[in-house]
């Protein structure tokens, strides 16, 4: 612990976390609009149509996770390397440029929404490609900002300590940034378009982001449980081998039906069936550590961060593992592709794998900022974690019911036509699934309120202990 004095880089991390949590709120808000529109299609019709609400929902998700990821790196970087981040001034400027760009893009999304079918629309309004709708000028801006970020990370590690966690992060971040380039061009050939589009989406979400999470998760384990660094780092390499080993060619499970050669059936099926294996490995590892540390009198130094890390282990396993495997094999994916199945899987997987760990990192920052030796869970914190986790799980279950109905009625019974589609959408089970999803979504939003409140106040509400009195007084 570096005492209550923070590195400048950590101050910057807090700025990133702040924007992230605001965008998280925006994500939930637009998700709520979209969920209502599934039940009441006239809600905000012609003002904020489903396409716009949904685009803002998923873009806010991606952008806030990236903000939180960059924030977490700026938080742990000086701590791990042992020195202040090189080029911190540049990093601060980049933060403001990025935030201004994000604000402009959001305003254009909200008030211009769509454009004529010309190249200028692609450059200035929207690219119209799910998840990476950001117009071309913003793409280029993002690349520039990310280059600054990469420079900071590399220069700092070169100068400071090279820990295993940092080495993995360095390699992973360059892949993560490089992959974004695969989504930055235009082609008339929609099959080729989607082929490269998946390079960005899949290789982020199921490869580079997973490895990022493994690295940051290792850091959190060291910080909260005082886990042995050597053990954590060795496991990190094993995780990298298993995740990249299954994840990179697991890309094949998106190449079953988009005009790609048939051999992707096999590659996609088996490699993606292996994707849960690292998650089982992770699960056994956490179980082992927990079992070994139990009774050693080792105290958890940051209960909320550790609780969110636990949510991440289970959420990742259930969302990515169980819900992924339910519809990943080509024989069944033929009927589930393009139904609510991916929606059900996506909600739990994104939450479990990424949202939970990013919140965990934020709690670490809260603790660091207040300079507390130990951070305990407050009541609001418990409400936040319970409402959000149970809410997302319930959302996923209701979407699964809807998805099953849709697959059965639209794909199984009505041959995937428009008529079949609308018959399925009107089915009682489908509509009820959507209703429960909305209810669960509201619970998540209430949980979000608790979360924001808790992040702002939990440091002040700690039971004051001997020896911590002065620090707590200083923070208040």
């Amino acid at each position: 612990m570096q005492g209550s004095k923070l590195y400048q880089s950590q101050e910057l991390a807090i700025k990133y976390f702040t924007v992230a949590i605001i965008l998280f709120g925006a994500q939930l808000l637009f998700g709520l609009v979209a969920a209502i529109q599934f039940l009441y299609p006239n809600f905000l019709f012609n003002t904020l149509d489903f396409s716009i609400a949904r685009m803002l929902h998923i873009n806010a998700l991606v952008v806030w996770l990236l903000y939180a990821m960059i924030g977490a790196v700026y938080w742990l970087l000086p701590d791990e390397a042992g020195i202040e981040v090189v080029g911190i001034k540049l990093a601060n400027i980049a933060f403001y440029i990025l935030t201004a760009a994000v604000a402009i893009v959001v305003l254009v999304y909200l008030f211009v929404q769509i454009g004529p079918g010309k190249e200028s629309t692609i450059w200035f309004i929207t690219e119209g490609r799910e998840y990476i709708e950001a117009p071309r000028w913003a793409d280029i801006g993002i690349v520039a900002v990310v280059l600054v970020f990469l420079y900071n990370v590399y220069a700092t590690v070169m100068k400071g300590r090279h820990t295993g966690i940092l080495v993995v992060l360095m390699a992973d971040l360059i892949a993560l940034a490089g992959l974004y380039l695969a989504g930055m061009f235009y082609t008339d050939n929609i099959a080729v378009d989607q082929y490269w589009w998946w390079w960005v989406v899949h290789l982020w979400v199921e490869a580079t982001w997973e490895v990022y999470v493994a690295a940051v998760g290792g850091y959190i384990l060291i910080k909260t449980l005082n886990a042995n660094r050597k053990v954590v780092e060795m496991w990190l390499w094993i995780e990298v081998a298993m995740m990249f080993g299954s994840g990179i060619l697991g890309l094949g499970h998106h190449y079953f039906w988009i005009g790609t050669p048939e051999y992707w059936w096999e590659i996609g099926a088996l490699f993606s069936a292996l994707e849960p294996v690292p998650l089982v490995g992770l699960f056994v590892h956490v179980l082992y550590d927990w079992g070994k540390e139990r009774g050693k009198g080792n105290e958890i130094k940051n209960t909320p961060a550790f609780a969110w890390l636990t949510v991440e282990t289970f959420g990742n396993f259930l969302g990515a593992g169980v819900w992924g495997f339910m519809h990943t094999l080509p024989q069944i994916n033929l009927y589930t592709h393009g139904t609510q199945w991916p929606a059900a899987h996506g909600h739990l997987a994104f939450f479990g794998a990424y949202v939970a760990i990013m919140i965990s990192a934020m709690y670490l920052a809260v603790q660091g900022k207040a300079g507390l030796e130990r951070l305990r869970m407050t009541k609001a914190g418990w409400w936040a974690i319970s409402l959000i986790s149970v809410g997302v799980l319930l959302m996923t279950v209701s979407l699964t019911v809807a998805a099953y109905t849709q697959t059965m009625v639209e794909r199984g019974m009505h041959g995937a036509t428009w008529e079949g589609y609308f018959i399925a959408q009107a089915n009682r089970w489908f509509v009820q699934g959507m209703g429960w999803r909305l209810a669960a979504g509201l619970a998540v939003i209430v949980g979000y309120g608790f979360l924001v409140y808790d992040l702002l106040t939990c440091a002040k509400k700690q039971p004051v202990e001997e020896g911590e009195k002065e620090v707590a007084a200083a923070a208040a």
């Binding site: 050939n189 099959a191 794909r411 199984g412």
Partner: protein, 229 residues
């Protein structure tokens, strides 16, 4: 420390393994990508003259009739362009012969057809279609899949009133609420007449892409999967 150290606990061993696995998986992916790109290159009008099948055919397919039929040789449904013929190896394939009028013409040159679908694709992106519909099964799930939209039975029923289904679809795109078929209706996105024509061309072209049999049993309204048993 003094006793022998197992390779299994060696950080170096796992680091090398991770590097190897990542490297070889990436290299394999790159090789597979080169091969896939070659196979997914858009075909040309020459291929169609020579009756060579391409996964993504030339846009001049808008001059031809398009159908979607089960090919026992491939084991799934394939697009049938310009009528069907027997494969020498068994099963059926496209004959590239039967033409049909598309907005009153069936002689779009390769250049014209490419320009048309270029505008169509730009419009599809500019209007954010993918955030309600799915294309080739990817996108949002608020509106029907457009992969084989051109072949959807809905348009067959509307076609006579509009003098052909391309006109029906184009009319729909220019003012969707007017022709709304369900409570969940498509908003008016300000699609112009030219843009509508281009989008219809794109939809027709997309229905000719070989998607390995997705969507299965498309268009068989009554008892799709079970009907074939």
């Amino acid at each position: 420390m003094e006793e022998k150290v197992s390779v299994w606990t060696s950080n170096r061993f796992w680091r090398r393994s991770a590097t190897w696995v990542t490297g070889v998986a990436s290299v394999l992916l790159i090789f597979l990508t080169f091969d896939s790109m070659a196979q997914m290159k858009m075909g040309s009008a020459k291929d169609i003259e020579k009756k060579i099948d391409r996964r993504i055919p030339s846009p001049v397919v808008i001059n031809y009739t398009i159908d979607y039929k089960l090919d026992p040789y491939r084991g799934h449904e394939i697009p049938i362009i310009g009528g069907e013929m027997r494969r020498p190896e068994g099963g059926i394939k496209s004959a590239y012969e039967k033409k049909e009028k598309f907005f009153g013409r069936d002689d779009y040159s390769e250049k014209e057809a490419r320009e048309l679908i270029h505008k169509g694709k730009l419009t599809i992106q500019a209007k954010n279609c993918m955030d309600c519909h799915t294309l080739l099964g990817n996108g949002a799930y608020y509106a029907p899949d457009l992969t084989k939209a051109w072949l959807d039975p809905t348009w067959e029923t509307l076609a006579p009133a509009y003098n052909g289904k391309e006109y029906a679809i184009a009319a729909f795109l220019q003012d969707p609420p007017k022709m709304a078929m369900h409570e969940r209706k498509m908003p008016n996105l300000g699609i112009t007449k030219e843009e509508a024509k281009a989008v219809v061309a794109y939809l027709k072209f997309m229905s000719a892409i070989d998607t390995n049999g997705f969507p299965r049993n498309f268009g068989k309204i009554k008892g799709a999967v079970d009907a074939r048993k």
